[in-house]
Symmetry: C2
């Protein structure tokens, strides 16, 4: 079974669903001594199987696959339709599906994926046992101390501690009960609750100094997403790359694009629809999907989700392996400087 | 002139206006080797002068005084009155004052206060020059990279980098343009913008591991507020102590109590009035002041502001000096462990 101590460099690539994550990006991070990740969310089990095969063709090193836990109950009747009436453009058909949960669990277990991480909730003890039997280590994303306690009791091998700085979807288990806690505060309260279970810290980590900081705060590794979105190995769309590269607009949390709280660069669609957006995931994701795909295709950055964390201005266009190695070196320097400061 | 390198322990006590900060708390932190702070906000210049004299009677070590920068323009006519109509109970008379800005600047300069920090904005170059002439080092609170750039250009000697985790008022210069950035993300983007000006990191820092983390992230010191609110030297009210000690309710940002965004433990008044509260500071502060004072007096924790940062569950009831020394020792251990992890 994989453990975090195996990593030469305690840096984990964040799974970035909906495009940016590729087998090439994951392979580059794993080959550099970190841990690469694939994002199973929104993909068919066959597509995930192909990604795993492609990644295994590029590296023999450990890697992870992230799976979205099933959503909560469907929103009240009419809520999504009401939201749809406020949006102009080519909309899709909302549906309340579970993103092929059972098939994806079976797939990652049968593939013996070294690390399987979960967002939006925790698998059952039976599901975790089946993953373990397949050779998978199980990580669960948490955003509050209460979720951390529940994940540890549920049998998680490690916790992905996601601060409110993070880009993309909040991993919050119940979208209606947000706990938008900053990473450093969250690491402290989760550590007090987690009873020694290893922590992977994520949310706005973009520099070696921040990697050093989360290790000092007690994390076993840092997980980095947005800062890798400009890497040549990432499949980030051109308009999204431009928005990240500009680096000057604020980010905000919104349900406007998917019906579930996520952080992105503030743009026109977000400003127009945030106030009306219901908590109704993945229904709203399916509703807005064609509109977003078309905007992305035509390079219209005001009408698709520009997921980005709060330190996105520091994203690097270096090859991912170079970036990971540089951050590790800078993290060592940062710790040395801090040791000198404390005396 | 005071510099942060003088501190034996790189821990600064946060000024906590409206009660908790006392000369005794500041003296205990300064005597332990950190930097104690007085809060001038809401106090008359005479009361601040008395606090400074009392503190100087307790310690010969350096200390700081925090001053609120003048508020922005008054809210539109009728906005505060409209909010007042939604609140039951004994209300005060709203007014748009500057908290005796000029008199307080003159006072701290004439007293030669070693460190004068500012919240809600940056003094003018002339005001900074007058403070320097009085022997004061000038710190400016920032919550975005843009505020950091402006403060450095304005002549600040150091920046207090306030993450969104922090309890009490956000230091944001324009309350209508919030930049609710988590501390670790903010430290990275501010450091890139601040050109080597020393940073004091604040917001949810409650443990030695978090002190170590902000030093690793490049801060020259950590500033700690909420974690000291249970100290015997703090004048935190009994009902507020109980709410912090319970440690289980979430916190949120709200303008409900003062007309300016601040973080506190969620309670009934906040839930009832958050949605209606305008950005109108300090007008709303004066409006709700009698109601809050009465609630605090009768121990009614649902009807006054329970300011607290996101790591408030980790606040300590130790004497402040013991707490500061313990955190410094734990910070050293945390850095040693991180160095071992990075290899």
């Amino acid at each position: 079974m994989f453990t975090l101590e195996e990593l030469e460099i305690p840096i984990v690539q964040a799974p970035m669903g909906g495009g940016p994550s590729t087998p090439e990006l994951a392979a580059a991070v794993s080959e550099a001594g970190g841990l690469g990740f694939l994002a199973a969310g929104y993909k068919s089990p066959d597509a995930v199987r192909e990604d795993i095969a492609a990644l295994r063709g590029l590296t023999g090193r450990p890697f992870g696959v992230n799976v979205f836990a099933p959503p909560g109950p469907e929103a009240a009747r009419g809520v999504v339709e009401e939201y749809a009436r406020t949006i102009d453009g080519d909309l899709g058909t909302p549906r309340h599906d579970d993103d092929a949960w059972a098939d994806k669990l079976a797939l990652v277990a049968s593939e013996g994926v070294p690390v399987v991480s979960f967002t939006f909730g925790c698998p059952t003890p039976e599901e975790i046992a089946a993953l373990r039997a397949g050779g998978c280590t199980v990580w669960v994303t948490v955003t509050t101390a209460a979720e951390a306690t529940a994940a540890v009791q549920g049998g998680a091998d490690a916790l992905v501690v996601q601060g409110a700085e993070a880009g993309g979807h909040r991993g919050t288990w119940d979208d209606a009960q947000p706990g938008d806690i900053g990473l450093l505060a969250l690491l402290q309260v989760v550590r007090a609750a987690a009873g020694g279970v290893p922590l992977v810290a994520t949310g706005g980590v973009a520099t070696g100094a921040a990697v050093a900081a989360v290790l000092a705060a007690g994390a076993a590794a840092a997980q980095i997403g947005t800062a890798l979105m400009l890497a040549p190995e990432a499949a980030t769309s051109p308009a999204h790359r431009d928005a990240i590269g500009a680096g000057d607009a604020p980010t905000a949390l919104t349900r406007a694009y998917t019906g579930r709280t996520a952080r992105g660069i503030v743009n026109e669609f977000m400003r127009a629809h945030d106030a009306d957006a219901p908590s109704a995931y993945p229904d709203v994701h399916h509703l807005t999907q064609p509109l977003r795909a078309a905007a992305r295709e035509r390079g219209d950055a005001d009408n698709f989700h520009l997921w980005a964390g709060q330190a996105y201005a520091l994203a690097s266009a270096e090859p991912a392996g170079d970036f990971v190695r540089r951050l590790a070196a800078e993290a060592r320097e940062a710790l040395d400087a801090a040791v000198r400061r404390l005396g």
